[in-house]
Symmetry: C2
Subunit: 433 residues, 2 copies
Amino acid sequence: MDYKKMDKERLIEEKESVFRKINEFKALGIKLNMSRGIPNPRVIDITAKKFSGIDVYTSRIHKDNADLGTYNQSLLAGIREAREFFAEILDVGIENIIIGGNSSLNLMFDMFSQLMLHGNFESERPWCREDRVKFLCPVPGYDRHFAICEYMGIDMISVPMTEQGPDMDAVESLACSDSSIKGIWCVPMYSNPDGCIYSENTVRRLAAMKTAAADFRIFWDNAYSMHHLFENEEKCVLNILEECMKAGNPSRPYIFSSTSKISMPGSGISAIAASTDNVRDILSRMKYQTIGYDKMNMIRHTIAFPDRASVSRHMKKIADILRPNFEVTISTLERELGGLGIAGWSCPSGGYFISFNAMEGCASRIIGLCAEAGVVLTPAGSTFPYGVDPLDSNIRIAPTYPSYDEMKMAAEIFCACVKYAVLEKMTAGGRDD
Amino acid sequence: MDYKKMDKERLIEEKESVFRKINEFKALGIKLNMSRGIPNPRVIDITAKKFSGIDVYTSRIHKDNADLGTYNQSLLAGIREAREFFAEILDVGIENIIIGGNSSLNLMFDMFSQLMLHGNFESERPWCREDRVKFLCPVPGYDRHFAICEYMGIDMISVPMTEQGPDMDAVESLACSDSSIKGIWCVPMYSNPDGCIYSENTVRRLAAMKTAAADFRIFWDNAYSMHHLFENEEKCVLNILEECMKAGNPSRPYIFSSTSKISMPGSGISAIAASTDNVRDILSRMKYQTIGYDKMNMIRHTIAFPDRASVSRHMKKIADILRPNFEVTISTLERELGGLGIAGWSCPSGGYFISFNAMEGCASRIIGLCAEAGVVLTPAGSTFPYGVDPLDSNIRIAPTYPSYDEMKMAAEIFCACVKYAVLEKMTAGGRDD
């Protein structure tokens, strides 16, 4: 029954009942950290098995006809096999691909460093020489993206997310009117945390929109392109590079990808895809930065995953482990909170997160209550620039790390904490615990 | 006989004789690229053997008591085993160590990016907000160091190298008088290309000198600390961190090291060592940049090389392969050029290079003649800022890549080209080939 239709006495009764339930949970002494999107140990184990037999050291000559076990500055953009792999995954040409190290986040950070210190080939000056630089940040979004902007001293402008991606009316009107707006963060597939997939219309509008800044860039973090939860509906997002080329803005997108959460998280390989002009621009910096990223790890990965189909097969096995966690979370939310009129949540078909929106002003309290009951969630506000959710409503649930039984329990604890925080607020007069 | 004591007729005769010799070499159709300091394939093979049997994927729990096969932001500074390894190699505390990715060059580049965009904790402002930033560059030196400064827009001031390291009178007088001088590049052990080891006095003066800039930094690229050629004389350089601490300048040095040319070049691990204040400063940037570098490759390395002694044993095997190349080069230089009064060269006891100084104005021509005869050397000027050797004299010889027979032949070709270029100059009136 909708809480809003209950009288105060009934609400207080309900609150007391929930309070007892939370105390029962506390008595169980649960300790569970769900703060980050980390795969669970069973996923790591099956992935590790794929790698444990591979010896890249004995035979080191591959398609480039060079010893991959030594320096080779002609392979600055990565070994051929790895470039082919990401070209297939991202549906671009091999000439559009640069392979990075173990972290696509690092590639993004480095890209910003380059833009700050030099700009890109369409910039009038380095971004650090501009009076101000601003970035569009669809919210809720990924805290590490926002943190990079904060580190670089870039002002963040929040733009609301919709089920089709960022609110394009807002994006277009901001991008075309303010030349200090230099770009936008996007997680186009199974967005973090909403789990939405940008619609074709959204992608086309991003590709074609007028921007006041000539050197405007889309940071297209395609982190979850292969991370489907349901095998019968392998979804995909429109090819941003192709759309930008069609629209006459070929160098607008920097596409980031990695094998993180495909292979070993933290020891995979990463890639940038971009126009050949951007590739040239990026390599013109990289040649000062390194002789090249780890080629042994590149070839190791392409032996484990020779093509897209091999990734799909592996991701189906991973989905079989992760799907029950998402399902039990969603079903618990529906059973416990459905119809109460106090919250909404996403039902993603892929990715790593469920986005939960509580009654305004309750998110921090819910997260605090969960922590007291032994369930650590992503801190309140994390999904917003500067860590501040103006409505104190959004919570990122990361169901991938716990075991199924842990997730089931955590979802129940979470729901109890949501109810309690809301009831506390509705019954006003402060807390009585 | 000293060429300078010959009359012109004799010089012309000699030149014609050398010319015939070069043509004989050309007829052999040699093709040899010695432009970079790359270990030879036999070195790569014995190193690869150490790695080929190691499985890091099955058992992934080590001293940190955490699964190294997944994200772990608490291991941002690297896994315990790897920090202990470099702490032993560099003779510093584990708390002074941060482990990086496959490239110490990348760590240096990132350090400069941080300094440009934020400065260090002793800076008044980011270096990019200074009117000018200048760096002291001992010459001859390492081209990739100079290239980073060039990319960052930092003015380079050359300081001559001596057999004890940089000319410290010049360094001290510049560093204390100009606050825009923010640091100095140093390769203290088997310097690139001279092969010299900084004397104790040099290290103490670097540690103790007055600097006009409060945020002055020594970039201490200790790339060759374990790369001895003669096993009975394992040399070492004074501990710069310790000396700086004694002198009251604990945060002056950033020490860089890596397993490059110990393990696989291009797929090793790297490290920074610095004061705990510097470590905190660096991690305060790194946390935006990455969740951490490749922990699987860290543990792989510490299994292959559990301690300093295991590195020493391995480096002795490598030295046995490289030493003959150095010896045949030096003996050929002595036999062919000794006493002619037209050149000098270093006789390093470790490292990767021989530094050769030809009669002024001859280096480019020598390198050009070698290329015509099939031997590609590091380009003239590479060992100087902006690629310009004001005397056109220094040539970096990298004897590590060729096989012994190739090196023997290359050294003979080189000597013939040196003689020819010098004779050409001495007989003036232009070239007659």
